[in-house]
Symmetry: C2
Subunit: 257 residues, 2 copies
């Protein structure tokens, strides 16, 4: 069955985009037809797969606001089986333009539903979100079957987790009754750092945490400047291994469904 | 003369809060009466100076929306001469409640103006902002005399700089003609990393960059879990030295104004 996952955390810089891009690329390499949706006006996920915002005419904004079909906006990437619905800065305007619309929170869900009804082939949809819990992230939470939460093991990042889970509960009790928390992914993990182990132990007490842990790895921060996911930039790096392991575990968790 | 500075960057996790908290604390240690304003619903700057959001009744929300006086909401910190106007999660509601108000972007400017007219003593005001360019950050840009931009020397962080500077120009041409860009502060700088030097060289071509560079230093990420600025947590650390140097340079740039 198809899986739609929102990668969410209102705390900034915790590895949402790095996780969305590299999980999507790893799933594509496993021959899963994958769509990466960029819901962040920064357009980092788009750049991360070699489709920088300045290079495109149409973006997810045109689907959300102008009713353009997904198939007419998506762009193929250098990775086989990986397609991106790109974002650019105009997406900022969508938050303002949708405020008074009754269906403001379910536009993305409709864009995806209608595209699947027309027969678009994606088995996996991964949605990258901005560092906030505003209307763009809300659209992702309403459209998704589950939520993946990248977490940097630091104090400020831990503080925001409760509020994030409250927000997910509110969406589950409102617009998306089926929304599940898929799990927490520990990112930029430095095993020499005491705080990292303390935070990780604390999180494991309350949430489902993926076994796959992403270590701090310089190659992961270099890859986006080449417009490549880590698998195409440096497949032997620790970062690439971690995201392949994450993709395997991600698919295993879905195997029986 | 008094200085009001907004610490802004829509890219998440680049060290805005760490810079706001530790610059404010270093200015206070230099006997400058300093107010730290937390305009991020995450409330990280408040926690970073030992005033966690769950411990307070009133917050900046009450000043912005209910017209409460600044003096009735601020909290003294463990650092002499450092006071905080704390934030908590209710600040999220302010963005929604202000949308239809004509003066929605200048509420913070008015709160500060009216407080100074009543004679509050602060010489330095440092405003921490959330990772977005929405109404809360806009309020900070309208209230401020200048903007300090923390920048992590990585690819995604560089991408957003142009849009940030365009936004500052727009505010300067609109609601705050006197708004200046104070400068860029390089954060989490790792000198062994090529990309960091490439990004730093690029940024120096287009912007005023502070000589004081903040290195990656684990003590900086430990300090917030104790509710202490780095100067009180580990005054001998590289992080403390860097923020003291930044405060010295910050004051030198203002001497004579
Ligand atoms: N495991 C890692 N090791 C080293 N660097 C990393 C790792 N993961 C991410 N990075 C780098 O850290 C920075 C933050 O990561 P990223 O941009 O993916 O976070 P984000 O949560 O998407 O940020 P935002 O909140 O702005 O959307 C980026 O420069 C990225 O290249
Ligand atoms: N120089 C540094 N060395 C090591 N860790 C740092 C440094 N500066 C900040 N950090 C840590 O990196 C993380 C991100 O920093 P911080 O929260 O200050 O960024 P921010 O820009 O305020 O994030 P947000 O966009 O969520 O508001 C925090 O966990 C912080 O403790
Ligand atoms: Mg991102
Ligand atoms: Mg912050």
């Amino acid at each position: 069955a198809r899986s739609i996952v929102a990668v969410v955390n209102q705390k900034g810089g915790v590895g949402k985009t790095t996780t969305a891009v590299n999980l999507a690329a790893s799933l594509a390499v496993a021959e899963q037809s994958t769509l990466l949706v960029d819901m962040d006006p920064q357009g980092n996920a788009s750049s991360g797969v070699g489709v920088p915002p300045r290079s495109i005419e149409r973006s997810v904004y045109d689907c959300l606001i102008a009713g353009m079909h997904l198939e007419d906006v998506v762009v193929e990437t250098k990775v086989p089986h990986l397609t991106v619905l790109p974002a650019k800065q105009d997406l900022v305007a969508a938050e303002i333009e949708l405020v008074d619309e009754a269906d403001r929170a379910s536009r993305l869900a409709r864009v995806l539903d209608e595209a699947f009804t027309r027969g678009v082939p994606y088995r996996q949809v991964i949605i990258d979100c901005p560092p906030s819990l505003g209307l763009l992230t809300l659209n992702a939470l309403v459209a998704a079957h589950s939520v993946l939460v990248p977490l940097q093991c630091e104090f400020y990042a831990l503080e925001g987790l409760t509020y994030l889970m409250d927000t997910i509960d509110r969406v589950r009790n409102g617009l998306n009754a089926d929304l599940e928390v898929d799990g927490v992914v520990l990112t930029m993990f430095d095993p020499r750092n005491n705080l990292a182990h303390q935070v990780s132990d604390e999180v494991k007490k309350h949430f489902s945490v993926y076994d796959a842990v992403v270590p701090r790895n310089i190659r992961l921060s270099e890859a986006p400047s080449h417009g490549l996911p880590i698998l195409l930039y440096d497949a032997k790096s620790k970062g690439a291994e971690a995201y392949l392991a994450l993709a395997r575990e991600f698919l295993d968790r879905r195997a029986g469904k």
